[in-house]
Symmetry: C2
Subunit: 154 residues, 2 copies
Amino acid sequence: MREKTEFLSTEKCREIGQSCVCFNLRRAARSITRFYDKALQPIGIRSTQLSVLMTIKLKKDGIVLSKLAKATMTERTTLTRNLAVLQKNGLITIEAGEDRREKFIKLTQPGEETLLKAVPIWEAAQKSVAEQLDDGRIGSLLKELSAVTSISMS
Amino acid sequence: MREKTEFLSTEKCREIGQSCVCFNLRRAARSITRFYDKALQPIGIRSTQLSVLMTIKLKKDGIVLSKLAKATMTERTTLTRNLAVLQKNGLITIEAGEDRREKFIKLTQPGEETLLKAVPIWEAAQKSVAEQLDDGRIGSLLKELSAVTSISMS
DNA sequence: TGCCAGAACGTGTATATACACGTTCTGGAG
DNA sequence: CTCCAGAACGTGTATATACACGTTCTGGCA
């Protein structure tokens, strides 16, 4: 067992920084989030909230918390906190189900109206992104993101 | 000005959810972060912290906070908080520069050692991701992420 | 019927993120 | 030299994220 002179070259660091899927994905997410959030600012919601509202809207008569968590692929406890904000702002209601363990999430009227106002804003933002990427690249990007999302923890 | 019966179809919602770059990027980022974080758990750092340490390592004699923020594309005030954790855990030092407005960030010895231990872990995680995506797709993914990251706020 | 495994959920704690606003400091214009 | 515009940074506040742990409740088994 002789002493090894371990050494981490700056080259190696640079290579890791440039190729790390996690870092590059997180950085892109921060950037795109700032972009969408700024666009949504006039109607007082953020991109995360929009995606939650959209997912709730998919179910006519409300959706159970844990189902919503599964649909958005958010940690359940994260979603609990996110929903609390939406409830505070009057965009959703949270009520106990018949099975009293369950929480039913529903859109309120203001929630519906916010969604309506959000759609053209979202479309403009999405269009802007599509234009700033080469056309067609959004399709392959989404496909690759989907693959990343379903990476298993084995 | 007649009353419009505004209506948001579930079809539209589904389409938005499936094509929204922001939502899909954030979701993928959450997923990949969980993956890398779990891998890094044995050495007590997270993926975000690893990328910060790596970026610091790129500069021999420390780096000024705002430069580091630019390099990692993190909000400066976000980085301030992230660095506080690394400092608390003894991985970096933060000291005032000659220009007393500036803060110099440097790796400590434990910080260096943590980086060394992180490299093989990172390589294994990255390799695992590469295998679960089709080969070559990482390259195009990184290219598209780079394009997304540089989207302008115009 | 009584009981318990498991489902569904909340809370405590910690990190990550960003905007608005305030503070300190430097360098140069006058 | 004085003063101030701008640089560099911190703090308050709010949202987003996730793990560990605890609580409540349901349905089925003995």
